[in-house]
Each structure stands twice: as C-alpha cells, then as structure tokens.
C-alpha cells in the first residue's frame, strides 16, 4: 500500500513538474518539488525511504528529460540519505527546520550539478548561476515547503504509512 502511495506521489510529481510548473514560474525560477518530497520523506521517515524516493524520483526525471542517465538519481539519493540521518534525532517543527533542510538540499544539488557541468565542459557564468538559479529556486522552494510538509505530515498520520517499516 505504502509503496503504491509513494509511487503515485512520484508519478504525480513528475507530471506536475513538467506540465504545470512552467506556468507558475517567476523570473525563470521553478520550485524543485522533488527536493521538497525527498526532504519531507527524509524528515518524516528517515534515510531508507528518502534515499529510495530520491533514487526513483531522480531516475524518472533522468529518463524523461536528462541526457546522461543517473545524475539526478544519484544526487537526490545522496541528499535524501544525508538529510534522513537526522530523522528522530532532532525535533523537527513544521516550518523552520523543513525550510532549513530544503535550502541545504537545493544548495547541495546545485553544487553537485556544478561539478557535473564542469566535467561536461560547459561554460557558465558563476555569478549568474548564483543569482539567477540557486537563490530564486531556493527561495521559491522554501516558500512551498511548509505547505507540502504539512500535507505529508498528515499523510504520515495514517497507519499504513508507518506500520511495516517500524519493526523491532
């Protein structure tokens, strides 16, 4: 059941991201909804779920739009894993920490992409990169984060989302 719910969320996300988001962009900045999902799963369910979600969601994105397969799968998986490590170690509120972690996630993502771009030998102006991609995207994503996080928290109040994973 939970697997299907997650799969459905991921598919919905990729469809929304590619067809709906171009309409709500502001100055070329689009929110990174997959990052929101990965961070939400990381904070609510921990590393294993988050890295699987990141892997699957990233791979889907790679397959549909990427040129080199695996880059998004890799970075979302790593970010999901890393942020998932704080699961149940700190108290995560509803607003401040989710926003903090999603911004960290965006910065990590852009950094990994920068390394990738460097190896692809594409020249990009660094200043423009910071001001036109990283900051707008981080701000936009951060604004959306609390809403999605609230919904995900509600989702995790259903028993089927937590039942099997917590053995011991």
């Amino acid at each position: 059941m939970r697997v299907w719910v997650i799969l459905f969320i991921l598919l919905l996300n990729i469809v929304l991201q590619s067809s709906f988001f171009p309409f709500i962009e502001i100055y070329g900045a689009e929110p990174d909804s997959l990052m929101i999902l990965v961070v939400s799963f990381a904070l609510l369910a921990g590393s294993p779920t988050a890295s699987i979600v990141g892997f699957c969601g990233g791979l889907l994105q790679d397959i549909l739009f990427g040129e080199a397969l695996g880059i998004y799968a890799l970075l979302y998986m790593l970010i999901g894993y890393a942020i998932g490590l704080v699961h149940q170690k700190i108290y995560v509120g509803r607003i401040i920490f989710p926003i903090f972690f999603v911004v960290i996630g965006i910065i990590a993502k852009e950094f990994i992409l920068l390394v990738y771009i460097f190896f692809m030998r594409i020249e990009i102006p660094f200043e423009q990169l910071i001001f036109r991609i990283v900051i707008p995207e981080a701000v936009y994503t951060a604004i959306l984060m609390p809403f999605v996080y609230y919904l995900m928290e509600r989702l995790y109040q259903f028993k089927f989302m937590t039942k099997k994973w917590r053995f011991k």
């Binding site: 990729i14 992409l113 990009i124």
Partner: protein, 283 residues
C-alpha cells in the same frame, strides 16, 4: 529488503552511487544507449503529461488570465494564420526546389536530393529545473522522425531533435548551452557558429555567434540565418537578430549577441523539418 537496508545502509548507498556514476559516464559518452527503456517509460507517461499540459493550458487560458485571454486568442489565431501562410510558402518553396533540382540535373551540377517535408508537433513538456533547455514533443519514430532533424516554428529556428521514442521526441533548443548551429549573417554573408548563451533558463535565452572574422562589419539589427553547412539544418532558416557585437582582447574573432526570433516562453506548436539526406544516411 528493508531489513537489509537498515543493517547496511551506507554500503548500499555507496554501491548504488558507484553504479550510478558508471551509468552517467556510459550514457554521456554514448548517448542513446538506454533509448529503449526511455522509450518504454516515455510511452507510458506521455499521455498523462499531454493531458496535464492541455488541462493546465486550459485553466490558465480560461480562469487566470481573463483579461489577457482575448489577446492570447487573437495571437493564437494570428499564429495559426502565420503557420498556414508559412505552409503555403513552403509549398511554393518545394516547387522552387523541384525546379531547382531539375535545372541542377540539367547542368549536371549535383545529384543531391534536398527536399523539405514538414510535420507539425505539439510541445508536451519542458524539462524541470532551469539547467538544460530540452523539451518534449508529441511526435516520434512512428511519425517518421529521427535524430538530428531540425525543429522550427513560424518565427524561425527552434532547435534540433536529440532523441526519439515511439511517440515522443526530445528537442534541444538553440538557446541551450550545448547547442551549436552553423550560421551566416544575411547581409554580409559572414560565417559563424551560433551557440546557446548559457544554461540559465529559457526565459533569458539569448545566443552568441562566435568565430566571426575581424573584418566583418556587423551592426546590431542584422539578421542571422542558418548556413546549412552541417547538413542538419536546411539553409536559410531565420535564427534571430544581432543585439550587440563585441571583441575580447585575446580573441581572434568577434562575438555577437543574438536575440532568437522564437519566443521560447510560449512554445506550443512546432514544425519538424526532415530532409531526405539525413533520413537516408544516419550518422
């Protein structure tokens, strides 16, 4: 699997990371290696995407931009009329082409066949994020498209196809940082290479024309068209207008900033140009 994952999470993450890095390297060296899988998944997701895209377009048109709606609609009609007119012109062009071929044959200049055939396609999705300016169209192999065909709309050159699936294709636009098109200035006939300016989003999309000779006198406002040298793009497709010309001290050539004629923000319908040549010999 969860138990095992819980015991050795870091090991698994490391293994998967290494595998993914290998996959990245393989696919970036040899693009198209995974096309079959992509085709399969693309085929499943495409209808949903198409549906969503049409739905959101409708919602945007009907509810949000009530005021802009009339304007948009008139623009839409205008574009349709333009496309129709363009198709007419292309038919005329085809006629001229045929005549040209006949004359060529008569003169024994060349036996090359150059023929423009067109198919229309609808844009069904743009890549998420702002890094690569690649978008999807709803026609693919089944409709006779193949890699490296040129994509245009009524205003000018849009890009070229980089991957095809059964019922979809990926198009890399000319404003993408990895795109490169051989072009000439219409007035002075100077050769150059038009490259996507950056990887910043489509909205600030401008192109750069490099390798222009120092003697060339190019002024802002000059029109840039394709040169047809690479055998991907047919000759004479309008690309855009020169905004400014500059020369870096260390460079041995001039660089011109170009505003593409195509409005990449409002890309809904495109036309695919297939030439007989690049469907015959696939490289």
């Amino acid at each position: 699997m969860p138990e095992f994952l819980k015991k050795h999470p870091l090991a698994i993450i490391t293994v998967v990371s290494v595998l993914l890095i290998a996959l990245i390297i393989v696919t970036s060296i040899n693009p198209g290696a995974m096309t079959k899988v992509e085709g399969f998944i693309g085929q499943i997701v495409t209808p949903a995407q198409k549906f969503m895209y049409t739905m959101t377009t409708r919602v945007v048109n009907f509810f949000i931009e009530l005021q802009e709606r009339r304007e948009l609609e008139s623009r839409y009609a205008e574009q349709k009329a333009l496309i129709a007119e363009m198709e007419k012109q292309l038919m005329r062009l085809e006629e001229l082409e045929k005549e040209n071929q006949r004359l060529k044959r008569l003169l024994e200049f060349s036996n090359e066949t150059e023929e423009l055939v067109l198919t229309g396609a609808r844009v069904i999705g743009k890549n998420p994020g702002s890094w690569f300016n690649v978008f999807l169209i709803d026609k693919g192999e089944d409709h006779g498209l193949s890699v490296n065909m040129a994509v245009i709309n009524d205003r000018g050159l849009v890009g070229r196809i980089i991957e095809v699936g059964p019922n979809w294709s990926k198009v890399r636009s000319i404003v993408d940082g990895q795109s490169s098109v051989s072009a000439i200035i219409e007035r002075t006939r100077d050769n150059g290479q038009v490259e996507g300016n950056n990887n910043i989003s489509m909205e600030d999309g401008t192109c750069r024309m490099i390798y222009l000779s120092l003697e060339s006198d190019i002024v802002p406002g000059d029109r840039v068209i394709t040169s047809g040298l690479e055998e991907i793009f047919p000759k004479g497709i309008y690309i855009g207008e020169v905004i400014s010309v500059e020369r870096n001290k260390r460079d041995l050539f001039k660089t011109a900033l170009i505003q593409p004629a195509v409005d990449f923000r409002r890309l809904e319908e495109v036309l695919v140009v297939r030439t007989v040549r690049n469907s015959n010999e696939k490289k």
